[in-house]
Amino acid sequence: MSAETDQAMNQRAILDVRNLTTEVATSEGSKTIIDNVSFQLAQGETLCVAGESGSGKSVTSLSIMGLLPPSARVKSGEVLLAGHNLLTLNDRQMQDVRGGDIAMIFQEPMTSLNPVMTVGAQLVEAIAAHHGLRGSAARTKALEALDAVRMSESKRRLVQYPHELSGGMRQRVMIAMALSGNPKVLIADEPTTALDVTVQAQILALMNDLKRDFGTAIMLITHDMGVVAEMADRVVVMNGGSIVESQAVMNLFATPQDSYTQKLLEAVPQLGSKQGEKVESEAGKPDRQAIVEIRDLTVRFDIHGGLLQRPVKRVHAVEQVSLDLFPGETLALVGESGCGKSTIGKSLVNLIPWTGSIKIGGQEIAGLSSVHMQPIRRNIQLVFQDPYAALNPRMTVGELVGEPLIIHRLAQGGELTDRVAELFRRVGLDPAMMDRHPHEFSGGQRQRICIARALSLGPKVIIADESVSALDVSVQAQVLDLLDELQAELGLSYLFISHDMAVVEQISHRVAVMFLGQIVEIGPRDRVFENPQHPYTQRLLDAVPIADPARRRTDRVLPTGEVPSPIQSLDYVPSIARLTDFGGTHFAAIEQEGAD
């Protein structure tokens, strides 16, 4: 940026952060977590602060808002809001600024809303605080605020409680509350990370409209380069507490200057990256025997309620799903939260009760006792989503990786140590780290430990349940590479459960799309991604943010509805979609009406 435009920028800037340095008190003395961060935000502009976990992007926003935890403090710098330094304000003055001139929305809208107050009461409270309105005037304003965020049935929502709303609707309420003070600046900290991709698209579109209509300046903090590409005017990339690069969005994606940004962008899985590439489908070869055969798998849970804890509602998690998984292939199971994809994974290892038929390596596992299930478990292993939660924090990682071998009486003593060391090397970890505990490892390393644990029994099938979605993109790419390598070497089959279409495109041979407990489309990856038949698949693909601002779509029509719920009354009989053959093992349930 030249000196003159820099000058012009400073004058237009509504929020001007100068040389912000924040430190945190640790047992080893104070440690700088934000180092000399400067950026400007102009009216009607969206500035994306992008970075991986630990980059300091959230701490930056908390420093601006004066919401740092007691152990942290701003050491030096200025935060100028329309020329006034916020850092010199006292708590009382800062309260007026928060929710007034600057509003903030957070990642998890459920925890940010008060669960025992109606949506209307919370909105009225925010409006009363900033406009001094009371009674019916405040209620009218609350209704307007809900209409402004395009909330369906806004009148009814006023008297509902947060738990009665879906995640997307809650985030709309949060935005309505944030906007009720007519803020000049809206800070959004990962506002769509907890939402499904179709809902994310709606919320992002809403934020864009609000920026256009009200001229609000938006500071959007995100780890998702796809969201950056869709939303940003300018981008600030942070790493290790410092800004490594600051550019207009087009330039950043076209010519990233800093090596970290380059690496980050390279690691981002791009939807459409495999366009035109054919896959060799195992399913297409007539003589192949499936390693996992699922027939009419149905999983329903009763929800108990009332005084006698009788069943009152039923969750139709999975309805008559049939699937085959062939040796050496990766079958992706995609869909949004609540579609039943994880339930299928858990059914395969008998973690939950189910009906239907599942054959693993030709052997039926329906009704098997845990003793008879034991040899089958050796063939099929699960890798969980959250590597932080899936490892017992009190055991050493060596014990954890060796545990399956002990349980299945496959090794002990020196042989056990050797096998565990071998597994560590296999997943790219140093066996010398065996005596450490899980919390001493990073997220990516922990997921490698989980994979080593799953590999220890020499399985033929690995179910990866959202196994890379909790990881930063650069780490995600490494773990995906590891999975690829293992498949090539050991001939593993993966059932890859994921909500992330871009990752799925990268790794899978075949894709099955799930909606409300049923498969609505299944076929080779290239067919499903390039020629999706079912409207839900099309919608899902269309909603994925593309990490390329040159391909930004401004004209897309977004559905406004919410994903229907799988919870039904006890006498509900679901209609089962019949799959139509589109040739080349590509099937879709296009006669089904329920998808819209």
Binding site: S370, F384, D386, A389, L391, P393, R394, E403, I407
Partner: protein, 282 residues
């Protein structure tokens, strides 16, 4: 030992540790540090009018209405209070943990029956239950300890139950099930170690509750029976002389409060030190 080191480094828990050590040492060496047996009535223990003596060079904390040395009674009373504190609390911890962990792990019918029984016990006023039990069994040191245990295990059971339930739903337990770990293995290797810190904390915090309950029972006359001294029954025996001889109530009362406070301070510090959420994630 790092836990002890951490306890010593905190001022409040160091104070608690000191009080507890002094009390334990005094109780252990009671025969050597006291001048009189707790039930000995020396001739010079009362004024000529028969009134108790205030603290002086010979009777450090004064004498009680029977002319017995209050210091000796307090030191021997510490034995009673500590035995009850440790034994009663240990037994209630054992019963409570067993019931809570089994109910939380088994769930289903077994869990429901155990926890409804716990609720039933909880619904009884603790003091009333203790009085009834003491009335049935003639109270002595061990009976009082058991009565207190019968009353106190309920709290432990409830907490152990809810902790076990939430542990059993953690991802890593599901991960264990998916590799084929048996239920016993999951319980012993993966759930029990996580409960250990709660059990240790309860072991200390519970002692103060127990000491106080013993004092209450003794005060009501259904605790440890005279002439065996306990801190509670010293207060009970002397309460009507509160105005003329305030030291008779003040010293044992002070001892009860200080020891209970000490165990609370140590228990709270232990809870912070052992809290896995403070050290588990970075």
């Amino acid at each position: 030992m790092t836990i002890l080191g951490k306890l010593i480094r905190r001022k409040l828990s160091l104070f608690g540790l000191l009080v507890i050590s002094v009390t334990v040492l005094a109780a252990l060496s009671a025969d050597w540090i006291t001048r009189y047996a707790p039930d000995y009535q020396p001739f010079e223990g009362l004024t000529l009018e028969g009134a108790p003596l205030p603290p002086n060079g010979q009777f450090w904390l004064g004498t009680d209405t029977l002319g017995r040395d209050l210091f000796s009674r307090l030191v021997y009373g510490a034995q009673t209070s500590l035995i009850i504190g440790v034994v009663a609390n240990g037994v209630s911890l054992l019963i409570g943990s067993l019931v809570g962990i089994v109910a939380g792990f088994m769930r289903g019918a077994v869990g429901a029956i155990l926890m409804r029984f716990t609720d039933l016990m909880m619904a009884f006023p603790a003091l009333l239950l203790a009085i009834v039990l003491s009335a049935i069994f003639k109270p002595n040191l061990w009976i009082v300890a058991m009565v207190i245990a019968m009353v106190n295990w309920v709290q432990v059971a409830r907490i152990m139950y809810s902790e076990t339930v939430s542990l059993a739903e953690r991802d890593f337990i599901e991960a264990e099930r998916s590799i084929g770990a048996s239920r016993i293995r999951i319980l012993l290797r993966h759930i029990a170690p996580h409960l250990l810190s709660s059990i240790v904390v309860f072991g200390t915090l519970g002692i103060s509750t127990t000491v106080l309950l013993e004092a209450t029972l003794s005060y009501l006359g259904v605790g440890v029976q005279p002439p065996t001294p306990s801190w509670g029954n010293i207060v009970f025996e002397n309460q009507s002389y509160f105005e003329s001889a305030p030291w008779l109530v003040f010293f044992p009362g002070f001892a009860i409060v200080t020891l209970a406070l000490a165990f609370n301070l140590v228990g709270d510090a232990l809870r912070e030190i052992l809290d896995p959420t403070l050290k588990g994630r970075h």
